[in-house]
């Protein structure tokens, strides 16, 4: 019995493996290329850059530029099999989302030279970057800068506009981990706040995780106890705890990456937006047009439409026109190059 089963199974395998190549060439000619992504350990539903890249892929699929596919990672150990597996599935372009797979994607790119890889939130060393790998990073500092302008002015000049604000002139930020994209957000935030309110005290706490909501909340309460009335979250799901604390203690939180107003409309003042959607879409478009080049680091910012500040929603009335004007002026300055936003704490003279 076992032997018959084994033979039948083998026959099936042979049949399957023989039949595949016969159909493939005909199909390939008319079908758009397969473009795939693998998420970081947070997976889809992070309401942030995993979802953003996936939206870019879906948009490209809707426009007939690509066939989209996503593989979720549940742990860091999934990164290598996912990145390599997608190339073996025939993907022409694979997005790897998240700073923490920066090593793994370089290995995968070397192992699969026929496939383009794009690492979201990555910047590679130019002397070792494989020719089929694209580093996609963002000018988070520009988003942080805009948020900083709002926080810096609201916490002092316009503190009377809301009972959530106090007269202590302290604002805060909660960081997930101290990694380059997070530091860029923070550097911009501090620079933006100081540009409109030189005396402001900006305090920040590194939670040490992007998935620990309770610790994000505790970090925020610590900042509130030290006088902060506006706290920027730069911490992924840990940042949900920042919003928890804002709700419980009656202060303002500023969201990051996407518009987080819906999480607690009364307590989220605005959000620093970093749109991975447009950068993913642009990359796929170039792939479809045949103009995509590897071996480069690309940076998307305000000028490229990847960075912005979210609307104030119901807080629109308490944010004076002068603050909105200052934000608009900074945006124009960043685009035309007259405003230079620092991207590291060292640029601000802060020792880490």
């Amino acid at each position: 019995m076992k032997r018959i089963l084994a033979i039948a199974l083998a026959a099936c395998l042979v049949a399957v493996s023989c039949s595949k190549p016969a159909e493939k060439p005909a199909e390939k000619a008319k079908e758009p290329p397969l473009v795939a992504m693998t998420t970081d350990a947070n997976g889809l539903g992070d309401g942030s850059f995993n979802d953003g890249v996936w939206a870019g892929l879906q948009k490209a699929e809707a426009d007939g530029l690509a066939k989209a596919k996503v593989l979720e990672s549940h742990a860091m150990t999934d990164y290598v099999p996912n990145l390599s597996g997608l190339a073996e599935d025939g993907a022409k372009l694979v997005f790897g989302v998240g700073f923490l797979m920066v090593e793994q994607i370089q290995e995968a790119a070397k192992a699969h030279p026929e496939t383009f890889y794009a690492g979201i939130d990555h910047t590679y060393f130019m002397d070792s970057i494989p020719a089929n790998l694209i580093g996609v990073s963002y000018k988070e500092q520009e988003a942080g800068y805009l948020a900083g302008i709002v926080a810096g002015q609201m916490t002092k000049e316009f503190a009377k506009n809301s009972p959530k604000l106090n007269d202590k002139n302290v604002i805060g930020a909660v960081l997930g981990m101290d990694i380059p994209p997070v530091e860029r957000y923070l550097a911009g935030y501090i620079a933006g706040a100081k540009s409109v309110n030189p005396g402001v005290d900006v305090r920040y706490i590194v939670a040490g995780s992007f998935g620990d909501r309770a610790k994000g909340k505790e970090a925020t309460i610590a900042l509130i106890d030290q006088g902060a009335d506006i706290v920027l979250q730069i911490a992924g799901l840990t940042g949900m705890g920042v919003i928890d604390a804002a709700r419980e203690r009656g202060i303002f939180a500023i969201g990051a990456d996407v518009d987080q107003n819906a999480a607690a409309p009364e307590f989220v003042l605005t959000s620093a937006l970093k749109g991975t959607t447009s950068s993913a879409y642009v990359t796929i478009k170039e792939l479809a047009a045949g103009t995509l080049k590897g071996g480069v680091n690309r940076v998307f910012g305000l000028a490229e439409g990847s960075i912005d500040l979210a609307p104030f929603h119901q807080h629109d009335a308490i944010v004076p026109q002068s603050v909105k004007d200052a934000v608009a002026k900074a945006k124009a300055g960043i685009v035309d190059g007259s405003v230079k936003v620092p991207s590291a704490l060292a640029d601000l003279g802060i020792k880490k």
């Binding site: 947070n42 997976g43 889809l44 539903g45 992070d46 309401g47 549940h74 805060g172 960081l175 101290d178 305090r203 920040y204 706490i205 590194v206 939670a207 040490g208 995780s209 998935g211 620990d212 909501r213 309770a214 610790k215 909340k217 505790e218 970090a219 309460i221 610590a222 900042l223 106890d225 030290q226 799901l237 949900m240 705890g241 928890d244 709700r247 419980e248 999480a263 020792k351 880490k352």
Partner: protein
């Protein structure tokens, strides 16, 4: 220097300590009860996560955080019943079964997020949280410095404190406590006395599950207002360390959990104040270094239950 120390050591620091410690206390108490009964339970992390999910689901669906609390505890009990079945009845290696429960919990809650809410990440917010029922106990909450931290608290924090007293009493004064003790030290003796080791261990694991479920409910519907994937973030393992550091005894484990909460609260607050000029990574390893130090320093004076982690069957002569 005195000024910064004064800014650091405030009553708020004690409050933060208790909040950070509360879920660890409950999970560590679960570890104590399971291990004293002879079952090595490393599944607290997963049980907590399942409890957190169902607490948020029930509280959201019914609108009542109290039903959510019951739902979280019940889910924790049911999920650990599964663990008990694998470890006790099917004679699985306890550590392997526990590891499976942890991994399964992560995937299960992720899947159930899709079923219940149609998305991943963060669940729908509950209308009311248990934090709305924060109550101060008169007189006790007026004790300077620590009064508010221990006696002006939310429901599950009180339950956590109560569980320490309850278990200390159960182990000292009751038949259940003695049975659990015997089941972990010399199960054959318990069996010879005509009491079932299997039943005792099931009871211990399920009661542990209730406490882990409560710890999960604390995270989702008391400290927050919704469930977030992976929100336990290693607390089940810290609880395991607290169990060892506290010498498998309720009061010792309570103090160890408080110590971990304190170290964490202290490092967060020190970062905000910028008191010590050190890289943030050093602050982050602080709780773990403290864990190692505590375990290394304290464990010498206590020992684990003799039969912990050992499979039991009457036919096998107790081994």
């Amino acid at each position: 220097m005195m000024e910064t120390l004064a800014a650091l050591f405030t009553p708020q620091l004690v409050e933060a300590t208790v909040r950070l410690a509360a879920p660890v206390i409950l999970a560590a108490m679960a570890a104590v009860v399971c291990e004293r009964s002879g079952v090595t339970n490393i599944a607290m992390e997963g049980i907590m996560l399942v409890g957190a999910f169902f607490a948020a689901l029930v509280a959201w669906y019914t609108g009542s955080p109290w039903l959510g609390l019951v739902g979280g505890a019940a889910a924790g009990a049911l999920y650990s019943l599964f663990f008990a079945w694998a470890a006790i009845s099917l004679h699985f290696n306890h550590v392997v079964a526990g590891a499976i429960m942890n991994i399964l919990a992560f995937g299960l809650t992720r899947y159930l997020m899709m079923v219940a809410y149609g998305r991943q990440g963060t669940s729908n917010a509950v209308a009311r949280t248990l934090h709305d029922y924060k109550t101060a106990i008169p007189v006790l909450s007026d004790i300077p410095f620590i009064g508010k931290a221990f006696f002006d608290q939310t429901p599950i924090v009180y339950l956590a404190l109560l569980s320490v007293v309850a278990w200390a009493w159960i182990f000292k004064r009751t038949r259940l406590g003695l049975s659990i003790e015997a089941s972990g030290e010399y199960p054959m003796a318990l069996e010879t006395m005509g009491r079932s080791v299997v039943k005792t261990r099931y009871t211990a694991v399920v009661l542990g599950g209730v406490m882990c479920g409560l710890a999960g409910a604390f995270l989702s519907i008391e400290n927050s207002n919704s469930f977030t994937e992976g929100m336990t973030d290693g607390r089940g393992f810290i609880a395991l360390a607290a169990n060892i550091a506290g010498g498998w005894r309720p009061v010792g484990v309570f103090l160890a959990s408080l110590f971990f909460g304190f170290v964490d609260a202290l490092q967060l607050r020190a970062q905000g104040l910028g008191v010590i000029d050190l890289p943030s990574e050093l602050f982050l390893v602080f709780p773990y270094v403290a864990t190692i130090a505590a375990v290394a320093g304290l464990v010498k004076r206590s020992r684990p239950p003799a039969a912990v982690g050992k499979d039991f069957s009457v036919e096998g002569g107790g081994d």
